[in-house]
């Protein structure tokens, strides 16, 4: 692994991808592995997720995303005169209104799907149960991007027999990429915190939590504070900035974060989604307010982190924006050390894989 300007460079071989949920590998959710890395002394500990309470302190606030995953993948059929692929997938990413959604179109392949780039404005796709999606305009999260080039994400007008979330629940399936060969029911894509449907893809850092772990954390005095960030599709090209996403941070969560910070306790974000939401609402001193909206915040080492002291997250692909967020927390050198260790120890990548607790300051207990 070398540290270039483009970020950490390494290769995630196929054996390092989690191809199925840990339950299918004979493990419980909380038996996935947990790498704990401390930046102050570069100590890296390899544990199991059920050991998590040992690495947290009374008073620490664990901020969790309570967004639930939706069946965002819908089978769609194109009209014959459009493009060469007829049977495609339409992935719901985020709603702009009750009927207008940001969607991604993908080709169906023998193994997974791949981006479909030749769709056109005005094109109508047939969805299950008489639903129709009409492509209204390209979705261009960055000004000037893509204007005359191929379009991957669209703003689509959905004409459905029922409300889009109810429709997806009935006719859709969870979004799945090629590294997960078999379909799994939606319940495999929910966490113990999932409450409000809206995420196109699972906020996966919370997946390993079980009621027993939550119970042990509460007994220890760790506070759990909820927020919502509905994830959009994650099928970004390398080095592409993450899309804007919808979030809501309750006043009570902001208060819990600010109180803990004033007492010297740590804010531990469960997942990059939580980091994005909290940091969107954090002022320069790390004081967080409640609020809701869309965020296009991208955390870079230059921007830095203001409110979050530690992140529990999965292992990320090279050149992913998530890595730049982790680098903002602990710096390139420590991150390189940790990822070297994860590769050496054959950690598993992706949403069904292993986890990494990464902190800039040590807890009070080792």
């Amino acid at each position: 692994m070398t540290a270039g300007d483009a970020g950490l460079e390494f290769k995630v071989s196929d054996e390092l991808a989690a191809h199925e949920p840990p339950e299918a590998r004979g493990l419980t959710r909380d038996q996935v592995r947990l790498m704990v890395s401390r930046v102050n002394d570069d100590v890296i500990t390899h544990a199991r997720f059920f050991d998590l309470p040992d690495f947290l302190d009374p008073g620490d606030v664990l901020a969790v995303n309570i967004s639930a995953t939706i069946n965002a993948a819908l089978e769609a059929v194109r009209e014959p005169h459009y493009g060469d692929a007829r049977d495609v997938m339409l992935h719901l990413s985020a709603p702009l209104s009750t009927t207008l959604w940001v969607v991604e179109l993908r080709r169906r392949a023998a193994k997974g799907t791949s981006p479909l780039l030749d769709a056109e404005v005005g094109e109508q796709l047939r969805l299950p149960a008489g639903g129709i999606a009409q492509l209204v305009a390209p979705y261009l999260p960055e000004a000037g991007g893509l204007q005359n080039g191929p379009v991957r994400l669209w703003i689509a007008d959905l004409r459905l027999p029922k409300d889009a979330l109810a429709y997806a629940a009935r006719y859709g399936s969870p979004i799945r990429y090629a590294y997960v060969p078999k379909p799994w029911p939606l319940s495999y894509y929910q966490t113990v915190f999932s409450a409000e449907p809206g995420s196109a893809e699972m906020p996966s850092a919370g997946r390993a939590f079980t009621p027993q772990i939550v119970q042990r954390l509460i007994r220890k005095g760790v506070r759990i504070a909820p927020l919502i960030l509905h994830t959009g599709v994650s099928s970004l090209e390398a080095n592409e900035a993450p899309y804007p996403e919808r979030y809501r941070v309750p006043q009570a969560t902001a208060l819990a974060v600010n109180t803990a910070r004033s007492l010297g306790s740590r804010i531990v974000a469960v997942g990059t989604t939580v980091v994005r939401a909290l940091e969107t609402l954090a002022d320069e001193d790390g004081h967080v307010r409640g609020g809701h909206g869309w965020t296009d915040l991208v955390i870079t080492p230059e921007r830095g982190l203001r409110a979050v002291d530690a992140i529990l997250t999965g292992l990320h692909e090279p050149r992913a924006s998530h890595l730049s967020m982790l680098e903002a927390l602990v710096g390139r050198d420590h991150l390189a050390l940790a990822y070297d260790s994860a590769l050496d120890h054959h950690y598993l990548w992706h949403e069904f894989g292993d986890l990494h607790l990464i902190a800039k300051a040590p807890g009070r207990t080792p």
Partner: protein, 239 residues
């Protein structure tokens, strides 16, 4: 049916009824791409279905006082490669019949200002980076903004604020054309609400004022206040 950068795109708020609908129909007939918004989803859908046979229409239901909805308008505008005109037409009359100012519930007045003053500026802030050079901004106002009619203090003062806001915008943005336009009394649901139970059939239909708006969009008049009836619709029809 297809959007292209050669065609012009207009964003119209309050597009499901009255003047907003008439303007949408008028611009559709002239080949403009349309981004339409209104609160009433069902009505907006039927407007979309009607106009989609004539031009490219993106219809998005929502409330312009909601920043999340205004963000969605900006996303749509970007998808259309920028916009040539914003018509801030959505407005709130306030209670019907309208109370005199000393009886006016101030929380309702606040909501009227939210819709008639804050939201139009909020829309412009949201789409500012999507405005093409020389884009036309039309803020729909009223003679009640400049004439102190009894009973029109809430609506009238909000439109007066919108006019001053428009004038300052024009001063601050010489690259834009900002027009605040009094369409005159029209036979609309809002006008009927202002005169509950009265016969307003002597007022012209909103379609009568569309040519005046087209004149403003097609010409290069200086920013300023315009009275639609004075813009000479007959001349425009001949053009």
């Amino acid at each position: 049916m297809k959007g292209s950068s050669k065609e012009k795109t207009a964003l119209i708020t309050g597009a499901s009824r009255g003047l907003g609908l008439a303007l949408a129909r008028g611009l559709a007939g002239r080949g403009w791409n349309l981004i339409l918004t209104a609160r009433d989803e069902g009505r907006l859908r039927s407007v979309r279905d009607e106009l989609a046979t004539r031009t490219h229409v993106a219809a998005i239901a929502g409330d312009v006082t909601d920043p999340i909805h205004r963000y969605a308008l900006a996303v749509l505008a970007r998808g259309h490669a920028g916009i040539d005109a914003v018509i801030n037409n959505a407005g709130a009359l306030g209670p019907s019949p309208q109370p005199e100012l000393l009886d006016y519930p101030v929380d309702v007045l606040s909501a009227v200002f939210e819709t008639n003053v804050i939201a139009p500026l909020g829309v412009l802030q949201a789409v500012r980076s999507e405005l093409k050079h020389g884009a036309r901004i039309i803020n729909v106002t009223s003679d009640a903004a400049v004439t102190p009619y009894s009973g029109w203090g809430g609506y009238g003062s909000s439109k007066a604020a919108l006019e001053q806001l428009s004038a300052v915008l024009a001063a601050e943005n010489p690259s834009l054309r900002v027009y605040w336009v009094d369409p005159g009394d029209l036979r609309t649901d809002m006008h009927q609400a202002a005169f509950p139970g009265e016969d307003i059939s002597d007022r012209p239909l909103p379609e009568a004022r569309v040519p005046a708006f087209i004149t403003l969009l097609d010409s290069d008049f200086p920013s300023g206040r315009y009275v639609a009836a004075a813009l000479g619709p007959a001349v425009v029809e001949a053009a």
